[in-house]
């Protein structure tokens, strides 16, 4: 086998996303196909998708997707789940057996509602309770990983090329108003099922192309607030940072973007809008440990919308296009053209400039 240096490995991860502002639902086949022209950005060690609006019949229940390394782990975990949730449905997550995807763990899906009695006794709101439960399983239960935990959305990920992962999880059978996708090229961390993107908590999901130089500073800070980084890769910390900034601290998407991709001091200094300047000074000061340095392009998915963001130096590529009610985001324009050959207004957002797209009120 030839190693890097003897053979050129053109790599760099791939991301793509599509959203209908009207809330029109699209099959997952389109987003899976969009990954094909970017095949060489991945190396087969991880691919995944998040779909929003895919479980309308269970929209009021948290959809938990879990990986188990054995049947006995599943039995143990289900005992734990039953102590905390009403489980309205419990099933094997449907997959196709294909040669390209092997060594799959036990993959299970639950639709659950937290038990009111438990919420009352713990004095927690529903989301905080679910988030803490996810952390507890991922930390304390060896061989069990919750990889999706939002309402009316789901994450599907595996070791393999993304286009194969889409076939494996039968994405053509789901319909969502928005989708995000990732093809992985792991550089420093193992390629395993739990390490594939997207990384999710509640309905928040992150797909990420890049590498976080500030990872451990970010991790140490965020772990002070009950989050635990257990998935052996840098990206998961972005998900927890976004959850902390938006759900816990109540920041807007724009403000959260200004924290993780903060403008340079010199750029803030040159701002002429005094209120805007003060706000950025505050955000950089209050959340200095949540500045994410190093290259990244990310798509942050949530119920009802998504946000695309580049690091402030824009060390990764990302383009945005649109057509009718749809907005497309991808590492390469070619991926957008696969989804919509006539996409218009193709542009590359500047580093640190968030692109936020929301589904119109009431349409999701």
């Amino acid at each position: 086998m030839k190693i890097e240096g003897q053979v050129r490995i053109p790599s760099g991860c791939a991301i793509a996303a599509v959203i209908s502002k009207e809330g029109n639902r699209m099959s997952g086949e389109m987003i899976a196909n969009s990954m094909k022209p970017m095949h060489d950005r991945s190396n087969g060690l991880g691919g995944g998708f998040a779909g929003y609006g895919i479980y309308p019949e269970y929209r009021d229940f948290y959809a938990l997707h879990l990986f188990y390394n054995s049947r006995s782990t599943r039995k143990d975990c289900e005992v734990f789940l039953k102590e905390r949730f009403e489980i309205v449905k419990s099933e094997i997550l449907p997959t196709r057996k294909i040669p390209a995807i092997t060594d799959e763990p036990v993959i299970w899906r639950y639709f659950v509602a937290p038990l009111q009695s438990v919420l009352t006794s713990m004095q927690l709101d529903e989301k905080e309770f679910v988030a803490r439960t996810v952390m507890k399983i991922n930390t304390d239960m060896p061989g069990a990983y919750v990889f999706s935990s939002g309402k009316n959305m789901g994450t599907f990920k595996a070791v393999g090329f993304p286009e194969d992962v889409g076939v494996f999880y039968r994405l053509d059978e789901y319909e969502g108003y928005s989708w995000t996708a990732h093809g992985r090229y792991p550089t420093n961390t193992p390629g395993w099922w739990g390490g594939a993107h997207p990384f999710t908590l509640l309905d928040y999901s992150i797909v990420h192309n890049g590498e976080i130089s500030s990872y451990d500073a970010n991790r140490r800070f965020i772990e002070m607030f009950g989050y635990k980084c257990t998935l052996q890769t840098d990206t998961e910390v972005i998900t927890y940072i976004m959850d902390y900034l938006i759900r816990v601290q109540g920041l807007t998407l724009n403000e959260a973007a200004s924290v993780i991709a903060a403008p340079f001091w010199s750029t803030i200094e040159a701002k002429t809008d005094e209120a805007d300047k003060q706000k950025h000074l505050f955000l950089r000061t209050a959340f200095s440990n949540l500045l994410i340095t190093g290259p990244f392009s990310i798509v942050f998915g949530f119920n009802g919308g998504m946000m695309a963001l580049n690091d402030r130096l824009k060390l990764r590529s990302m383009v945005v296009g649109e057509k009718d009610d749809k907005v497309f985001i991808a590492s390469e324009e070619a991926a957008i053209r696969v989804m919509e050959p006539d996409a218009q207004n193709i542009f590359a957002p500047a580093g640190g400039e968030p692109v936020i797209v929301k589904v119109k009120d009431g349409a999701f």
Partner: protein
Amino acid sequence: MVINALNYEYTELNQVLRDSNGDCTITNCCGQRFIGAGISGRSITVSGIPGNALGAYLNGAQITVHANAQDAVGDTMNDGTIIIHGNIGDAAGYAMRGGHIFVKGNAGYRAGIHMKAYREKVPVMVIGGTAGSFLGEYQAGGIIIVLGLGTDGKKIVGNFPCTGMHGGTMYLRGDCSRVRFPGQVTTKTAAGDTLVAIRDYLSEFCELFGYPLDEILQETFTVVTPDSSNPYRQMYVAN
């Protein structure tokens, strides 16, 4: 010869291209990389979206794209011409050491990063619209021209242009009063019609994309050059 790229991955497409002779048109291109890498003496026309590193190491051929191009167009190109009738992605002309790149639209970040020149080898990049941040980062030679055409008052270049620039020349159309340049470069303004050194390139740009040269030259240009033979003098330590 016409090559339908529809079902080719990039290695196959480039093999077909290398195995053919004479001028080529590639149709249905969608993200295949390294198109035309290292080739000489031919003309290639691309319809669709070429992948990253279009015309890398180009050695005298002419490549025309009738759409946008992705990242790293003309990476380390040596000679030839690349003509893009749309926008280009990041790091266009990366370490380019010869030849010409003409872009009708906008360039992404880091256009002309580490361009260099040696004697008769003088690379030239002309960008019709705007350029992103870090334009001409570590520029060591060659000519970068940005015209800011049809940009509706948008800043002609993003933040931190000319960072680490230590050679070559940059020409930005307009007075650039809103652009902040680093300390190691000198800017001066010049009337467009006095810029003899770049007149031929502008003329070629106008012919390619159908702009009137006179109008472009009516505006003043900001000419940027590094201001010493040792621009790194104080960057890390006094040396």
